[in-house]
Subunit: 204 residues, 2 copies
DNA sequence: GTATCCTGACTGACCAGTCAATCGACTTTG
DNA sequence: CAAAGTCGATTGACTGGTCAGTCAGGATAC
């Protein structure tokens, strides 16, 4: 409860914009302070380092996503719908705040060096959550059990991330209708594959 | 044609090791020179900047891969075999030189900021090549034509990259047998999906 | 003799993080 | 009610260190 504005929040929001625009490594802390309309030193009053700002941004959002995945897993829905719910959450996150998602994906999730390592465990939790959905569907005989659940989860998450990366690079307008279509395509791709559903059985 | 050793090559090889170990942003040019057993200045005799070293590394390898994709596309093979050939090329590249592949993936392919942008077009060429394979299979009625070929290509490449990223992070031994198994899993996943092949038809 | 290879000390710029000082809202006390 | 005191919020100049790229000159090959 602050008087008028929570400067910590202002700095965080400014950092999202700056990281999205210039990239974490390329921007200076001064850029963040300027963007926030705040003195340089104040950044260090609220955060111990530039890294910690990125950490905070990532962890806050990622935990929400882990919650969404767990919720989808727990719901009484057919597996396709569960996967759709997860894809939906991530894609809508992008629609709602493309800059934040850009930062998370570009600077953390896909940045194997500094932060990828730090947050590996957290990132894996997401895979594991999706794998749970797959495993449950396999137990119900709806998904093929020869497929490793973790592998399927990686395919699913990898595809979602690939789609977002394309949008991020292209600065696509991403109309709601297209987002909806892509959700369907993702689920369709992961569940059904590209192959024509056995017009003639060929292999086992 | 140099007397005994091509120092340019030595520097390039040293850079691979250093980039793989410390990351592009974190390492200093001096580290590369030391690793190569060469004076600092010589690096600048052969390369105009630190970036150019990474560029060279990436482009050399990527062009070989584009060739491999084109070759697979042109071959007289069923689409599954073509996709397997592409997955095989990439996975074997990793087996042959994990450090180089780590650098390419971590510092270029997945690094959306600096280099991703520079080499976007080149990276897209790979997607396009894979999409060609898919498109051809669709024309032959072997792949479902509702799936966008470029989308399928992204799913395929995204999965391969995801697998490599996991190996890179985990420093997995990656036994030849496991590599072989993963190739099959990738093709199986992309072609057949996770779903049980229609035990009862449900939707269109 | 000259062109190319090679050396490593040096420079100029950059920037994360520190810190001493000021501000201002709120409390305590006389 | 005002003076004095308290403490977090806020400021921005400054420091210490880092490092990419330069350059003047020495070695080597032909």
């Amino acid at each position: 409860m602050t008087t008028v504005v929570d400067k910590r929040r202002v700095i965080l929001a400014a950092a999202v914009r700056v990281f999205a625009r210039q990239g974490f490594h390329t921007c200076r802390v001064a850029d963040i302070a300027d963007e926030a309309g705040v003195a340089y030193g104040l950044v260090y009053h609220y955060f111990s380092s530039k890294e910690q700002i990125l950490d905070t941004l990532f962890l806050e959002r990622w935990d929400v996503m882990l919650g969404a995945i767990a919720e989808a897993d727990g719901a009484a829905l057919p597996p396709r719908e569960k996967l759709r719910a997860v894809a939906s959450f991530i894609l809508e996150s992008y629609r709602h705040d493309p800059e934040l998602m850009k930062v998370i994906i570009v600077e953390v999730t896909r940045a194997a060096n500094t932060f990828g390592r730090t947050h590996l465990a957290k990132i894996r939790e997401a895979y594991a959550g999706i794998a749970n959905i797959v495993r449950r569907a396999q137990q119900d005989g709806l998904f093929r059990s020869e497929v490793d659940a973790m592998f399927a989860a990686q395919a699913f998450y990898g595809l979602v991330e690939q789609v977002l990366t394309t949008w991020i690079f292209e600065d696509r307008p991403t109309a709601p209708a297209e987002i909806e279509r892509v959700k369907t395509e993702i689920v369709e791709m992961i569940c059904g594959g590209v192959e024509q559903p056995s017009p003639r059985r060929q292999a086992a």
